[in-house]
């Protein structure tokens, strides 16, 4: 916009007007309807108003920003002074009088306030703002008569409406506005849009403005219905009645909509719903929507299938494209069906659109469905909406993997959740075949479900571990490192007494050991013959053997703090180690939470193995290919990993144990980190023994799991082959 210089008086006057028009208190965008009123109040011919709006750029932008508004006001002043309307005239014409708007504010305000109060008695909060067109047609002056006419006419007009329009009196005007706006797309009837916008602003019959022509511009820009106009998916007959009324009303109408009427409208709106949030659904509206929902789907917890919703919303006579967009916005979980919340949101959007409010690009927050019954919606996801939801979809079987509920917990972030859902479903489908253990995962922790499938490098290389140890020995947090060192030392060498010393330096090893050992309850049922004679070790081992969480639950409980502490560890690790180690260390806690929350060790080890072998896979892919005998692309990869991992199991036992050791140690060390109290050698050595035992146990477990994984993969491959053979149509 070209620069606009305003005198002080002008500035003040304009800003007053702007705030007057700024019903939404956005401070930026003015309601078009209000502005339109104002312009009509300026008593300018329609084409002049149109021209002004074009010049100031509002038509281009579709709304009145502050600058546009100011420019428009200036142009009004220019026009009123008789100067030709030019863009340049804004600044060139000097000493313009302030634009004049007919009818003083106060006077109009008081008049309308009176009318409003009387009207409100009749109809309640919704009534006033949206006078029905028929009412409008009949009442040109005297708001009181208009008021009385309103309910009558609205009732009359509504009766021929379809049964869908259940509430007759209470939502007096919305059906009419609905029908009125149904003309928008159809005709661009200049009167119609004006009529449509009219009721919004002047509640009491003053709605019409004579300058319907100028308002044609605004057909798409009526102010948002602060309180919802009820939508009646009325059929044409009522519309036609409206039509007949419209021309009459419009032509008769010469009233200038004034500031006053706008303010009263504001009051009304404020009463009806918080104008600040034009998308908010008021209680009455919600009740109406719920009633409508019931007509389609008696069960309020159920779904409306897509086809039924399509029919229903098609009755609104919005263009299919817009309905499609509304559907996209409101179908929160993209399941092709509408829950009650989704339906209300969709209905609300339809109402808003009917009233000329442009559809948002994103679903407004107030319309977002409550995140309840997530399992249902999740389960329904990706299924066609027509799949029988008429029953009790609330009991929709959790067909998705058990991990879905966990995903639902991340629902609040819509985009994220959908992405997570997608990615997770892909991963889960693959990971489920990879390991049986996934099915046991009860993802209590949302992070678990998401983090789990991620293959991550679990095992820090020995070098890293030593580095970590070195770094950490310098600090009190020696505990994390020492276990790491202890573990490899168990199997490979036993010469790292120093590390074990460090390990024990801060730990109540015994307790943590039990906790740690108990932690991977996924240890296979086979009781682990422990090398160390320590009875304490046996006990936890047996607990592991139980393969149940319950047995380890008491031990897991103390682990929870460990779990919680992992963030510390993560941070700590991140801060201490270099980037590479960061990844590893951070992945440890990442995987560890997985472990904790569900079948820890098994899945963890799988993940670890995955990650570990993934690295190696990349390095030795050719070698792996030879091992991976399956011809299929997907299976070979995991198979390769498994085979390779097995082959490398022995030499990598260290790393396995390192990993488990890392896990265990980390877990164990977590609570011990704060404690850096020295213990005597005996306790240290005992702890060393226990750790070694744990290592062997876990290593064995690891190998077993890998074997299982390989078997499962082979099964999967064979099944896939069978499926392909059975597939009715192939790519040919």
């Amino acid at each position: 916009m070209e620069g606009l210089t305003l005198s002080d008086a002008e500035q003040k006057y304009y800003s007053d007007l702007f705030s007057y028009c700024d019903i939404e208190s956005t401070k930026k965008v003015v309601v078009n309807g209000r502005v339109l009123e104002l312009f009509r109040a300026a008593q300018l011919p329609n084409d002049v108003v149109l021209q002004i709006m074009e010049l100031c750029g509002a038509t281009r932008l579709g709304y009145f920003g502050r600058s546009q508004f100011y420019i428009a006001l200036k142009l009004v002043a220019v026009a009123q002074s008789g100067f030709p309307l030019r863009v340049e005239s804004i600044n060139t014409v000097k000493d313009l009088p302030l634009p004049r708007f007919v009818a003083s504010k106060n006077e109009q305000e008081s008049r309308h306030a009176a009318s409003y109060s009387s009207d409100s008695e009749n109809q309640g909060s919704y009534s006033g703002v949206i006078p029905p067109p028929p009412g409008r047609g009949q009442v040109k002056k005297g708001s009181v008569t208009h008021d009385t006419v309103q309910p009558r006419t609205s009732a009359d007009a509504q009766e021929p409406a379809s049964p869908v329009v259940s509430p007759q009196q209470s939502p007096p005007t919305s059906p009419h506005t609905w029908r009125k706006h149904s003309r928008h797309p159809s005709g661009g009837n200049s009167e119609r849009p004006l009529a449509g916008s009219g009721p919004f602003w002047s509640p009491f019959g003053e709605a019409q403005s004579g300058s319907a022509g100028g308002d044609a511009v605004w057909s798409g820009h009526s102010p948002p219905p602060p309180q919802e106009n009820w939508v009646s998916f009325a059929d044409t007959p009522p519309t036609s009645t409206l039509l007949t009324m419209h021309p009459a009303s419009v032509q008769d109408q010469t009233t200038v909509r004034t500031v006053a009427s706008a303010t009263t409208a504001i009051e009304i709106r404020r009463q009806s719903s918080s104008y600040d949030d034009p998308w908010k659904i008021t209680d009455e509206q919600r009740q109406y929507y719920v009633n409508q929902f019931k007509t389609i789907q008696p069960d309020l917890n159920g779904f409306i299938p897509g086809s039924a919703a399509k029919e229903f919303f098609t009755k609104s006579k919005l263009p299919i494209l817009e309905l499609s967009h509304i559907w996209e916005l409101s179908d929160f979980d993209k399941d092709g069906a509408l829950t009650l919340d989704e339906f209300c949101a969709a209905f609300h959007l339809v109402v808003a659109r009917k009233n000329g409010y442009d559809l948002p690009e994103k679903l407004p927050e107030s319309l977002m469905p409550k995140l309840i019954d997530l399992e249902d919606s999740a389960d329904v996801g990706d299924q066609p909406g027509e799949v029988g939801y008429s029953g009790s979809p609330a009991e929709a079987p959790p067909s998705k993997s058990p991990s879905m509920p966990s995903l639902n917990q991340t629902w609040p972030e819509l985009n994220q959740s959908s992405e997570q859902w997608e990615t997770f479903s892909e991963r889960s489908s693959s990971s489920q075949t990879l390991t049986q253990f996934d099915s046991n995962i009860a993802p209590a922790d949302p992070d678990t479900a998401i983090v789990h499938p991620v293959p991550i490098r679990m095992t820090p290389s020995k070098i890293h571990m030593q580095e970590m140890e070195l770094k950490r020995t310098g600090s009190d947090h020696t505990n994390p490192t020492s276990p790491l060192l202890v573990k490899p030392s168990d199997l490979s060498e036993e010469n790292k007494i120093n590390s074990s010393v460090k390990f024990a330096s801060g730990n109540t090893v015994g307790q943590q050991q039990t906790g740690v050992v108990a932690h991977p309850p996924a240890v296979p049922p086979r009781p682990q013959p422990s090398q160390a004679p320590g009875p304490t070790v046996h006990r936890p081992v047996d607990a592991d053997g139980l393969m149940t969480h319950t047995s380890t639950s008491p031990q897991q409980i103390p682990e929870q703090p460990n779990f919680a502490d992992f963030s510390q560890f993560e941070v700590f690790a991140a801060s201490n180690v270099n980037e590479e180690q960061d990844d590893e260390a951070e992945k440890h806690p990442e995987v560890l939470p997985v472990e904790k929350a569900s079948d820890p060790a098994s899945s963890l080890r799988v993940a670890k193995t995955d990650s570990k072998t993934e690295e190696k896979t990349a390095a030795t892919a050719p070698a792996n290919v030879s091992k991976g005998t399956t011809p299929l692309a997907p299976p070979p990869k995991p198979v390769r990993r498994r085979l390779k991992s097995e082959d490398e199991l022995r030499p990598e036992v260290d790393e396995h144990t390192q990993k488990t050791g890392v896990l265990a140690a980390v877990l164990a060390s977590q609570p011990s980190i704060p404690r850096s109290v020295g213990k005597d050698k005996k306790a240290i050595q005992a702890s060393i023994r226990r750790n070694k035992e744990t290592n062997t146990v876990l290593a064995r477990l690891n190998s077993e799991l890998q074997q299982q994984l390989k078997d499962v993969l082979e099964e999967r491959i064979s099944l896939e082959v069978q499926l392909e053979q059975l597939r009715p149509f192939s790519h040919l």
């Binding site: 179908d331 997608e422 392909e724």
Partner: protein, 139 residues
Amino acid sequence: MAVCVAVIAKENYPLYIRSTPTENELKFHYMVHTSLDVVDEKISAMGKALVDQRELYLGLLYPTEDYKVYGYVTNSKVKFVMVVDSSNTALRDNEIRSMFRKLHNSYTDVMCNPFYNPGDRIQSRAFDNMVTSMMIQVC
């Protein structure tokens, strides 16, 4: 960066095609059209192979001096074709796969919309936004 994204229906007519308007769009349309032959060839060649996520992804269909064309076919024979700029230092295969996966998911969402008639041109804003993000992001 995807320079052009196209969704081709089973009957080989485009449901959605969009290119970065830097160049003559017709050229991209032509490339996509010619790539359909390659897609069909790959589909028929797959034959006995298992239909899998990876099978859906056809990979590089053919390279030109400036562009590379990647293909992806769904189980319902809806094809996604993506033209990427060669100068963009090799987009990794995984990235292309993930882009196709996103496309597929968005396409599924469009399908779920009851107001969408299969076979219509895709006019979903959400789909447009997703494609836009793909065409810009990998820049």
